[in-house]
C-alpha cells in the first residue's frame, strides 16, 4: 500500500486507492480479453450457431472445426516456426550489431546515418511491395524462405536497432570501462559483456518481431505460390470460401495459430517486460 493508502486505512476511510485501480483494470481487462474470448467461442460454432448468436459461446461445441483445419494449419505452423525463427535470429543479430554500434561509440556521420535508418520507419510497406517483389524474383527467392525472412528482417531491424541503441545507452558505462581496464578486447567486451546485458532488450525486440512476422498477410500471399509453403497468417484465410464463409473453421485456425505465440509469450514475458524498461 502506498503512503496515502496507508493513511486512508488508518483513518478508517474507504480504500479508494486500491479499489479504483482494481475496478478500472478489471474493466479494461474484460474488454481487452473479449476479442480473444470471441475468437475462442466462434471457433466452436457451426455456421448456423454463428448466425444465431455471435457474441457468446453456444452449445454444443463443434470441435470438428479444429479437426478440419488441423492438417493444413499444423503444416503452416511448422513453416512459420522456420520463417519466423530465421527472421527472428537475423533481426536480433542485426539489431544487436546496430544498436551496439550506435549506442556505444561516437563516430563521424553517426547522427546522419542513424536518421537515415530511422527514416525507413516512415516508408509504408505498401509503397515498396511491388519493387521489392520484382527484386525477390530477380534473386530467385520466390516461393522460398528467403522471400519472407530477408525482407521481414529489413523491416523489423530498423525498430530493433532503435530500441537496442536506447538500451545500450542506458547501460552504465562503467560496466564496459571495467572490462576494458581488465584488458578485454572490444570483441570480448561485445561477446561477454554486451550480449548478456542486452538479453532483456533483445527480448522486447523478439516479441515485437514475432507479433509482426506471425500475422503478416499480404507479403506471404504475394511471394509464396505453393500453398504448402505458406506461413500461418494467410493460411487462416484459406478457410474462407466464396459463398459459405465458415467462420467456425476460420476462427479455429486463428486460435490454433495463436497457440504457439501464447506459449512463447508466457515463457518470455518477464524478459520482455525487463527489456521495455530501457525506453
Amino acid at each position: 500500500m502506498s503512503v496515502s493508502e496507508a493513511g486512508a486505512a488508518r483513518r478508517g476511510r474507504f480504500p479508494w486507492g486500491l479499489v479504483v485501480p482494481t475496478a478500472g483494470l478489471s474493466f479494461f481487462a474484460l474488454v481487452t480479453w473479449y476479442p480473444f474470448v470471441f475468437m475462442l467461442a466462434t471457433s466452436l460454432k457451426t455456421r448456423q450457431q454463428f448466425f444465431e448468436s455471435y457474441w457468446w459461446f453456444t452449445f454444443p461445441f463443434d470441435w470438428m472445426n479444429y479437426v478440419e483445419v488441423w492438417p493444413r494449419v499444423s503444416r503452416a505452423i511448422l513453416n512459420s516456426l522456420v520463417y519466423s525463427g530465421l527472421a527472428l535470429a537475423l533481426t536480433l543479430f542485426f539489431s544487436l550489431l546496430g544498436g551496439y554500434a550506435f549506442g556505444r561509440f561516437n563516430f563521424r556521420g553517426k547522427d546522419i546515418l542513424f536518421l537515415a535508418i530511422l527514416m525507413l520507419l516512415m516508408v509504408p510497406g505498401i509503397l515498396t511491395i511491388v519493387p521489392l517483389f520484382v527484386q525477390m524474383r530477380q534473386f530467385g527467392f520466390m516461393n522460398t524462405w528467403a522471400a519472407l525472412v530477408l525482407p521481414w528482417t529489413g523491416f523489423e531491424m530498423v525498430f530493433g536497432i532503435y530500441l537496442m541503441r536506447l538500451f545500450f545507452e542506458r547501460l552504465p558505462r562503467e560496466l564496459f570501462h571495467a572490462a576494458r581496464v581488465e584488458g578485454a578486447s572490444e570483441w570480448k567486451v561485445l561477446l561477454f559483456v554486451a550480449i548478456p546485458l542486452a538479453l532483456p532488450g533483445l527480448g522486447s525486440v523478439a516479441i515485437l518481431d514475432l507479433l509482426f512476422t506471425w500475422n503478416d498477410l499480404i507479403w506471404p500471399i504475394v511471394t509464396m505460390s505453393d500453398q504448402n509453403n505458406l506461413p500461418v497468417g494467410p493460411t487462416a484465410l484459406l478457410f474462407r470460401g466464396n459463398e459459405n464463409v465458415d467462420y467456425g473453421a476460420i476462427f479455429a485456425a486463428y486460435v490454433t495459430i495463436s497457440a504457439p505465440l501464447i506459449i512463447v509469450f508466457s515463457l518470455f514475458t518477464r524478459q520482455f517486460l525487463r527489456g521495455i524498461e530501457g525506453i
Binding site: 511491395i129 534473386f139 530467385g140 516461393n143 522460398t144 528467403a146 484465410l237 466464396n242 459463398e243
Partner: protein, 482 residues
C-alpha cells in the same frame, strides 16, 4: 551477394520443395478460382482434379498444376497484380472481365484466333466442334468483349440476383410482394413496413463492390431506357439481341457525345428514383455494412424483411429458421419514369462470376500458350464442364449443352427479363469511375451532398474516365479523336 543468396535460396527451396517432380514435362499452372479450393470446397475440387488427371493421362507430357483458390478478393488482386508486374503469373488465370477490360498494360492474350478454331474435345456436330466460340452464349460474349474488340477470356458461368424474402414476416404484416404492379407499389410496401418498425430491404453499399450496385443498374436502366438503344455501336450489333447491355465503349461514346449527361432530365429521374429507394426502402445503415455476411446475418435474425442477393446464396439459405420466398423488382410505370419502355423490370445477372478464364501474356512468351488453350478447351467441353457445374450449385453454366443445376431453376423466370442496360458501376467505364460513382451516390443517398453538388462531381468523373479510356484505347476507339 546475389549469387550466394541464390545458392542459399536454392538449397532452401530444395528442402522445402523436396516433393517436386523433376522431369521434362511442360508445366501449365492454372488458377481456376473456386473450382480448385480443396479447403473449402473439397467436392468440387475433387471433380476438377479428376478432370486434370484425365487430361494428363491423355497428354503424358503435360503437367497441370492447379493453384488453390484465394477467396479474399483483395488478397487475390494483390497476388495477381504483383505476379503480373514480375512476369511470374500462372498460364491460366481468373479475373473479373470488367477489371480485365480496364486493366493497364498487356497482361492477357487475345483469344480471338483460338475461339475461331474448333474445340477438338467437343463432340462432333455439337456446338464448339466447328468453332470453339459457338460453345459460348452470344449475350455473354457481347458483354465481356474488350474495348479493342477482342476477347481475352472465356466465361463459363453466370450468376443471377433477386429478392429473398422472409415470408412469415411479410404475411404477418399483410404484405404480398407478388402483387406489386410497379415501382410505386414497392415504395408503398417499404413505407408500410417502416411504419411497423421493420427494415424493408437489405443491401449494402461501399465505394467498392457491393450489393446495392445491382439496384442501381436497374434504376439507371429504367431512367434511360428510351435512349439506350440509340447508343449502340454498329460493330457490336447483334441481330438476335435488339435490346442488350451497353459495353464500356458504347457508354463512353454516349458520355463523350453528351448523350449520357447530368444535364439530361433523365438523370434527374434517375436521382429521384434513387433517393426514393434510399429514403424508404434501404436498411438503415446500408452505407456502413462492410460485407455480405453482416447482411445475411440480419436476414437470418429477422431484422430485415427482404435481401437482394445472388443465386449463389440459395444453398446457404436452406437452414434459415423461417420460410423464404423469392421475388423481383417490379417494372417502372410511366409515372415512375416517363422514359421507361418495358413493362418488366431488368435482369441483373451476369458473367462476373466464378468462371472467367484467360490466358496470360506470359504463357505466350514461355511458348506454352497452345497447351494452355488446349487444356482450357478440354475444361470447357460440354461433357467435361457439365461435371464441375453439377457440383457447383448456385452458378448457372453458360456453355451450350450444359444443363443448369436445380437451384438455378428458381431464377428461370428472372432469366426471361430484358437485361439491364448498364452493368455495375465498376464495369461501366473503368474501375476509377466505378469507385467514384459509388462514393458520390453514397453521399447523395445519405443526404450528405445535394443533387447539384452530385451532378457537378459526377460529370467530372464521367469526363475523366472517358478521357483516360480514350488514351488507353487510342488505336481502336477512333471516335475519341472526333
Amino acid at each position: 551477394m546475389s549469387l550466394s543468396a541464390r545458392l542459399t535460396a536454392a538449397t532452401a527451396g530444395a528442402v522445402l520443395l523436396a516433393a517436386m517432380p523433376a522431369s521434362a514435362q511442360t508445366t501449365i499452372s492454372a488458377y481456376v478460382n473456386q473450382y480448385y479450393a480443396p479447403e473449402t470446397n473439397p467436392e468440387l475440387s475433387a471433380v476438377t482434379e479428376e478432370l486434370v488427371v484425365e487430361y494428363e493421362a491423355e497428354h503424358p507430357d503435360v503437367d497441370i498444376q492447379l493453384i488453390a483458390h484465394i477467396a479474399d478478393v483483395n488478397a487475390y488482386q494483390a497476388w495477381l497484380t504483383t505476379r503480373f508486374t514480375a512476369g511470374d503469373e500462372p498460364d491460366i488465370a481468373w479475373q473479373q472481365f470488367y477489371q480485365r477490360n480496364s486493366e493497364r498494360g498487356d497482361n492477357w492474350l487475345a483469344l480471338n484466333d483460338y475461339l475461331e478454331a474448333p474445340n477438338p474435345y467437343a463432340v462432333a456436330g455439337e456446338p464448339g466442334s466447328e468453332r470453339w466460340i459457338d460453345s459460348f452464349f452470344e449475350n455473354v460474349l457481347a458483354q465481356i468483349r474488350a474495348g479493342d474488340g477482342s476477347w481475352y477470356q472465356v466465361n463459363t458461368n453466370w450468376v443471377e440476383t433477386g429478392f429473398y424474402v422472409n415470408e412469415d414476416m411479410l404475411s404477418a404484416n399483410g404484405v404480398d410482394i407478388s402483387s406489386w404492379q410497379d415501382w410505386g407499389d414497392m415504395i408503398d410496401t417499404c413505407r408500410q413496413l417502416r411504419e411497423q418498425g421493420i427494415q424493408p430491404i437489405g443491401v449494402f453499399m461501399t465505394p467498392e463492390w457491393s450489393t446495392y450496385q445491382w439496384l442501381d443498374d436497374i434504376i439507371v436502366t429504367g431512367a434511360f431506357a428510351d435512349v439506350m438503344q440509340s447508343w449502340y455501336l454498329e460493330k457490336y450489333d447483334n441481330e438476335f439481341l435488339p435490346w442488350r447491355q451497353l459495353n464500356p465503349e458504347e457508354f463512353a461514346k454516349a458520355v463523350k457525345e453528351g448523350k449520357f449527361s447530368v444535364e439530361d432530365p433523365r438523370f434527374d429521374t434517375y436521382l429521384q428514383l434513387t433517393k426514393d429507394m434510399a429514403d424508404n426502402c434501404l436498411v438503415e445503415g446500408f452505407a456502413g455494412i462492410p460485407e455480405y455476411d453482416t447482411l445475411f446475418n440480419m436476414f437470418y435474425n429477422q431484422q430485415v424483411a427482404m435481401v437482394w442477393l445472388g443465386s449463389w446464396s440459395a444453398p446457404s439459405l436452406e437452414d434459415v429458421p423461417f420460410s423464404v420466398g423469392s421475388g423481383y423488382m417490379p417494372p417502372f410505370s410511366k409515372q415512375d419514369s416517363p422514359y421507361a419502355i418495358h413493362d418488366t423490370s431488368y435482369r441483373v445477372g451476369g458473367p462476373s462470376s466464378s468462371g472467367q478464364f484467360g490466358l496470360t501474356a506470359r504463357t505466350a512468351e514461355r511458348g506454352t500458350a497452345e497447351i494452355a488453350i488446349d487444356f482450357l478447351r478440354f475444361f470447357t467441353a460440354p461433357q467435361n464442364y457439365a461435371r464441375v457445374a453439377a457440383a457447383d450449385s448456385g452458378y448457372i453454366p453458360v456453355i451450350e449443352g450444359v444443363e443448369p443445376p436445380a437451384v438455378a431453376t428458381a431464377f428461370q423466370e428472372i432469366a426471361q427479363l430484358p437485361e439491364r442496360g448498364l452493368t455495375d458501376p465498376i464495369g461501366r467505364l473503368n474501375q476509377q469511375f466505378g469507385t467514384e460513382h459509388n462514393r458520390l451516390m453514397q453521399s447523395f443517398m445519405l443526404g450528405e451532398i445535394d443533387a447539384a453538388q452530385l451532378k457537378n462531381q459526377y460529370q467530372r468523373a464521367l469526363d475523366r474516365a472517358v478521357e483516360d479510356m480514350c488514351f488507353e484505347n487510342e488505336a481502336e476507339w477512333t471516335w475519341c479523336a472526333e
